[in-house]
């Protein structure tokens, strides 16, 4: 690993500006209508009237429980955007190394009806075009996704076109299963990746 910092002054996005899932479900659940998240002084927990019947679980939420929430691009983004960059204690999201539009989920076998196999493709954009850590970052993203997704998902991590001088080389490395497996046996490399994943929430 290069000991010298390669890009000491990258551009950083403001955390508040990163894409997040608006808790639309939560808002409508609190939902005495349009009060939204604002009306905190009327929050039910602080001023509710609890009846004497002890453990009485309200079964009102049963309708919502039925609604399925499939894994979507935002969820993938949330999984990988909190990975730290190996050079800076800054998240990949804030450095715009990963971004929401560059994540896609597609059926792996579009011709087979009812197949639930999915392929996730993630394009990463290194902060500078000659970044030798691009492979490590790609590997980190891959490891995080493989740890966090059910078996029916295939993961495809690549460097975004035109963002890196040796993109083809790196992509080949990242796509080669055996090379990835070999890399994951490497203690030092796994140490670096474990450190990157520490900040994942």
């Amino acid at each position: 690993m290069a000991s010298e910092v390669q890009n000491s002054n990258p551009t950083i996005l403001n955390v508040a500006d990163l894409p997040t899932r608006l808790s639309s479900a939560a808002a409508s659940k609190a939902g005495t209508g349009s009060t939204g998240a604002l009306a905190s002084i009327f929050s039910t927990s602080a001023y509710s009237i609890d009846w004497p019947t002890g453990l009485n679980l309200s079964s009102d939420s049963s309708d919502e429980d039925v609604i399925e929430e499939p894994i979507d691009e935002q969820e993938i983004y949330d999984l990988i955007s909190s990975i730290s960059d190996p050079e800076h204690p800054i998240s990949l999201g804030a450095l715009a190394v990963v971004s929401l539009p560059d994540i896609a989920i597609k059926p792996t076998l579009p011709d087979v009806l009812g197949s639930d196999l999915r392929t996730i493709s993630v394009l990463i954009t290194p902060t500078i075009t000659h970044c030798s850590l691009a492979t490590v970052i790609g590997l980190g993203v891959r490891v995080r996704l493989e740890q966090s997704l059910p078996p029916r998902f295939r993961v495809d991590v690549r460097i975004k076109e035109g963002s890196h001088s040796t993109a083809e080389e790196v992509n080949k490395q990242l796509a080669d299963k055996e090379r990835v497996a070999a890399a994951l046996e490497n203690g030092t490399l796994m140490g670096v990746i474990a450190k990157m994943l520490e900040s994942c929430r």
């Binding site: 002054n9 950083i12 996005l13 939204g36 004497p52 429980d65 029916r152 994942c200």
Partner: protein
């Protein structure tokens, strides 16, 4: 044998004996039986001996004798002779101690001190080859001379300076160094060191950085920090050290160890604080050039913070005594390269190094008014230019934030409106840019598209800072900002998480502290105007309005106005004909409750007014309206009465005692006359509205002190009839809110107002409701609730019959009637649950040990009962199933989880071996009805695991069974339909794999991996594969929150549970 000989024989092994000998000789000298000369002469035989040990012992004898003499006994000549003698013999043991004794005597003098000092310097050239204790004695003597005869040493000038430095050079013992540093510091501060600055500096700087680490159980208790502090004091003691100190300290910043760098930076700060400003000025730019790197490419946060402190320290020193700001000032010269660098970095304000540049500006500009002025002059104009040319909103936003940093500094330097500092001599340099700021920030806040939340938020924060900055904006300018905020809150649609609205509320609250008038004049009318005058017109918008009003009404005048306006609004509503939803009037009351809760009502000057308008008037309306036709249903609605009750409770509690005594009579009449309203207790057939007023009565009663006189129905002859009436009404009541009021009223009476001597009355009532032996037959739910609430009142005060009551209640759970059993089981959580009426705030009688008692009484009984059921069901399984007892085990588990949910975890822990099997059995329940029980169990488990780690589970031998049950609870299946169940189970799994107790127990070791700590493999290792595999399937749960929890749990197991313990062992 002479005294001397005896002394020399015993001195090594019997200190006490030796001292006694010396005492005797001293007495002889004192009483003139012998003379000092004879004592000295007796030494002759030994003081010239070849053996240094013998010589030492002989000299010690003399020292010991002198020590025992009274301080005024020796004449000046004698002291002189003795001093000379000891000085000659300084190298012999005991001589140094003798000198130390002599210099304490009254007749010792300056020339002698000089002689002693010289003797020390001459005779101890080889001091460092001697033992630690000998060196310590010499330093101690020197230190004493420093204290008592400093002028003598001072007058010796360079001789003493060089002498001392030579003497101490090479010292390594930390105890000695503590003394050495303090001696040297005196020399550094008081001597003329101009010719020997480097010598002195080197004498102490050789020890930098201190790497001493005290041995374990060090009896002297000297820490590295003690040494560092003294060393730092020395380095920073004299400006003449600057040419040596500052370059050396800056060099140390090249070190790879962050600790060395920390010490160097701390020393730099100390130097800057104590060297004279001219010296500081000479090195200021050099220091900046070096520290720049530390801040812009921060390795560690604390190093960057310390570096910023250094820069700020320099700025403060260079600002001293400035009356006129000019470019020629040393301060200006120092700031020039700094602002240049910052300007350069801030040109691209989104890049990583813009942040440290902001920090530099912040710490330097907040140091003083002149510094702030100089910085504003060079920084603001370029920033504004970049802003105008900026190509994107993100960049503009970063620039607004940078300006915000300067505004913060400005507040630090010039104060806020509300702060009462003295007037400053300098004008705020930001005034020059006032119009530009108004325009840019106003435009950014109101002109940007609504989706640019973070950009608008930055603008809002900037304007807020300028609004609270003292003597900056005019009132009309702040007023304009307030109008912006009103507009944001009242007119704008919600966007995203409503961050901008939250910020707007915070801003209004902040402004209300500084300019309450503006809020009252602008915001209040605008908001109150949107509140509808009748319920029919009320759309949900009023909630937002009330919410905002409540939050900004922190300041006294605003609070008062708000309450008055809301009360008159409420009165308008009460006059109108209406039936239907009462949410709007209830929200108004809730708002009043919220703002009153924020204030200390006891000190409120308008308390009487609130009492009349809210407690007396509204309660009377509620009571009178219950028996006669009222225009609307507002005051007969249970939820409205509940809020009104809390308000009354709050106000009555704050009233003076005399007033409270008066109120006692009105607890049930509710301030009505007899014609208007008949109180509920003992009323023959009250209607539903009438009974509902008990909600108010209960809340008011709870606010009264326990020993209040004149409580109705309480003393005629005792409370028995009232208790029975309440219990009776509670049992038969069908409306839940009213029943709740009766139940709490009963519990309140039994807990707080029933005299200790009359406790038997409550116990009698208990057995009247539940005759002994009737526990296993059918009992109606109303009676069960009454029993539990009555018991709650008694258990909290630990009445003598507590145990019997608890046992009777538990017997209900074994009832063959399923409904009785389940109702009772669910009610166990009532006993200790927090209740707003029976609370410590209301002065309820809550004993500390009541939780312990409930837990230790009930848990063993539940545990043995479940074992019984398990046994009988397994033996009966072959024969014939017993359908009427199948519910008993789940019911007991329900009761248990109800109790556990109200017991603090530390109490639970000792019982864990008994409890854990029971808790695991609750996780096996799979009916929908058991969901709350399982949730309660999971939250208990989560707390236990979080605080104590996997070790406690392992000690009970249940890791495997716990993990298996957690995994099956986390699985998506009809039994685990409720997503929270699955999330909580996953959370427990996550906590299992976390290293435990890093915050609580464990101490320094807790940072090490689990294996290294316990010295063996993690107990989780055998199940790791099972967990990781099972969790992979759960990653496909249909609910997002469950998947999130599964991801976290799986990551924790992959990361935290090590395959091999090869880290350290």
């Amino acid at each position: 044998m002479s005294a001397l000989q005896t002394f020399m024989l015993v001195v090594d092994h019997d200190k006490q004996e030796a001292q006694q000998i010396a005492e005797r000789v001293a007495q002889d000298v004192e009483s003139k039986k012998t003379t000092l000369i004879e004592v000295v002469q007796s030494l002759v035989e030994y003081v010239n001996d070849e053996d240094p040990i013998l010589r030492g012992k002989a000299v010690s004898f003399l020292t010991a004798v002198i020590k025992e003499l009274p301080p005024k006994f020796l004449t000046r000549q004698q002291i002189q002779v003795l001093t000379t003698f000891f000085c000659d013999r300084a190298q012999d043991g005991g001589a140094v101690a003798g000198l130390e004794t002599l210099q304490k005597l009254d007749r010792f003098n300056k020339p002698l001190a000089e002689e002693v000092a010289r003797a020390i310097f001459e005779q101890f050239q080889d001091l460092q080859s001697r033992s630690q204790s000998q060196r310590f004695q010499v330093y101690q003597l020197l230190n004493e001379l420093m204290l008592n005869y400093r002028s003598a040493l001072h007058d010796m000038g360079d001789e003493s300076l060089v002498g001392i430095v030579d003497l101490v050079t090479g010292e390594k013992d930390p105890r000695n160094l503590m003394l050495v540093f303090s001696i040297l510091k005196v020399v550094m501060v008081e001597w003329d060191i101009s010719t020997h600055a480097e010598l002195l500096f080197d004498a102490v700087y050789n020890y930098f950085p201190i790497t001493f680490r005290p041995p374990p159980n060090d009896p002297y208790g000297i820490t590295a920090q003690d040494l560092k502090d003294r060393l730092q004091d020395c380095i920073s003691s004299n400006s003449l050290f600057a040419p040596h100190a500052i370059p050396s300290l800056l060099d140390k910043l090249d070190s790879t160890s962050p600790n060395v760098k920390r010490d160097a930076l701390n020393a730099l700060i100390a130097c800057i604080e104590s060297y004279d400003p001219n010296t500081v000025s000479r090195y200021s730019i050099t220091i900046w050039e070096t520290l720049k790197f530390e801040i812009l490419n921060a390795q560690e946060e604390f190093l960057s913070e310390l570096s910023l402190k250094v820069l700020q320290g320099i700025t403060k020193r260079l600002s001293e005594g400035i009356t006129q700001i000019s470019d020629q000032l040393p301060l200006a010269q120092y700031l020039r390269p700094i602002t240049k660098e910052c300007n350069e970095q801030l040109r691209e304000p989104q890049q990583k190094q813009a942040k440290p540049a902001q920090q530099i500006l912040s710490s330097v500009s907040s140091a003083s008014a002149p510094a702030f002025t100089l910085i504003v002059q060079t920084v603001v104009a370029p920033l504004l230019t970049i802003y105008q040319e900026a190509d994107g909103i993100a960049k503009q936003r970063a620039l607004l934030d940078t300006l915000g940093v300067l505004f913060d500094s400005s507040i630090k330097v010039f104060g806020e409106w509300a702060s009462r500092d003295s007037e400053l001599t300098f004008e705020n340099p930001l005034l020059e840019f006032k119009d530009q700021f108004s325009e840019i920030f106003g435009q950014a806040l109101m002109g940007a598209i609504k989706e640019e939340v973070s950009f608008r938020t930055s603008a809002l924060k900037g304007l807020l800072r300028l609004s609270v900055l003292r003597d900056y904006f005019q009132d009309n300018e702040i007023g304009l900002f307030v109008q912006y905020l009103d507009e944001i809150l009242l007119k704008e649609e919600s966007v995203g998480r409503d961050d901008i609205k939250k910020e707007a509320i915070t801003a209004l609250t902040e402004i209300s502290k500084h300019k309450p008038r503006l809020i009252l004049d602008i915001t209040f009318p605008a908001f109150v105007a949107t509140l509808p005058d009748s319920i029919e017109e009320a759309d949900k918008g009023y909630m937002k309005t009330l919410d905002v009003l409540a939050k900004i009404s922190v300041e006294k005048d605003i609070f008062e106005t708000l309450v008055r306006r809301l009360l008159s609004k409420l009165n308008v509503l009460l006059q109108r004909e209406h039936s239907g939803s009462v949410e709007y009037p209830r929200a108004i009351l809730l708002t009043i409750l919220f703002v009153m809760n924020q204030r200390k009502m006891e000190e409120d000057p308008n308390l009487e007014f609130y009492y009349d308008k809210i407690v007396v008037s509204l309660c009377r309306s509620a009571a009178a309206g219950s028996t006669s036709p009222a225009p609307n249903n507002i005051l007969s609605d249970a939820t409205v009465l509940d809020v009104l009750g809390r308000l009354c409770n709050l106000i009555v509690r704050a009233l003076p005692r005399s007033k409270q005594d008066e109120i006692a009579q009105n607890v049930y009449t509710l301030f009505t006359s007899t014609e208007e309203f008949q109180p509920v207790p003992f009323a023959p057939s009250p209607n539903a509205s009438q009974k509902r007023t008990m909600i108010l009565s209960t809340a008011i009663l709870a606010a009264l002190p326990a020993d209040v006189p004149n409580l109705p129905y309480a003393t005629n002859p005792n409370m028995s009839a009232l208790l029975a009436d309440m219990a009776n009404r509670a049992t038969g009541e069908t409306e839940p809110a009213t029943q709740y009021a009766f139940l709490r009223h009963l519990a309140l009476l039994a807990n707080k107002f029933l005299p200790k001597s009359d406790l038997a009355l409550a116990s009698d009532l208990f057995y009247a409701l539940l005759p002994p032996g009737s526990e296993t037959s059918r009992v109606n739910p109303g009676t069960i609730h009454t029993l539990f609430w009555l018991s709650k009142g008694l258990v909290l005060r630990l009445a003598p019959t507590t145990t019997q009551h608890l046992t009777s209640l538990l017997a209900l759970v074994s009832s063959v009637d399923e409904e009785t059993s389940l109702t009772a089981a669910r009610s166990f959580s009532i006993l200790l649950r927090h209740d707003e009426i029976l609370s410590a705030t209301n002065g309820a009688n809550i004993r500390l040990l009541c939780r312990q008692r409930v837990f230790t009484t009930l848990t063993p009984q539940i545990s043995s009962r479940i074992r019984e059921v398990n046994l009988s069901s397994s033996s009966a399984a072959a024969a014939e199933p017993q359908p009427q007892t199948q519910h008993i085990k789940p019911a007991h588990l329900t009761a248990l989880s109800g109790i556990l949910s109200t017991i603090p975890p530390p109490l639970v822990l000792p019982e864990l071996p008994t409890l854990l099997p029971l808790l695991l059995q609750t996780l096996d329940l799979s009916t929908a009805a058991s969901t709350p029980v399982r949730l309660a169990t999971l939250s208990t488990l989560a707390v236990i695991i979080r605080d104590n780690g996997v070790a406690v589970i392992d000690q009970c031998g249940h890791v495997q069974s716990l993990v298996t049950r957690l995994l099956s609870t986390a699985e998506y299946s009809p039994a685990n339909h409720h997503p929270k169940l699955r999330v909580d189970a996953l959370n427990c799994l996550y906590l299992l794999a976390q290293t435990p107790g890093s915050s609580s127990s464990g101490g320094a070791e807790s940072a090490a991996p689990a294996i290294a700590r316990t010295g063996r493999l993690s107990p989780l290792l055998p199940v790791k594969n099972q967990v990781v595999r099972a969790l992979r399937a759960i990653l496909d749960d249909p609910k997002r929150e469950v998947r999130k929890a599964a991801v976290d749990a799986r990551a924790a197991w992959l990361r935290g549970v090590d395959d091999a313990g090869d880290e350290e062992d």
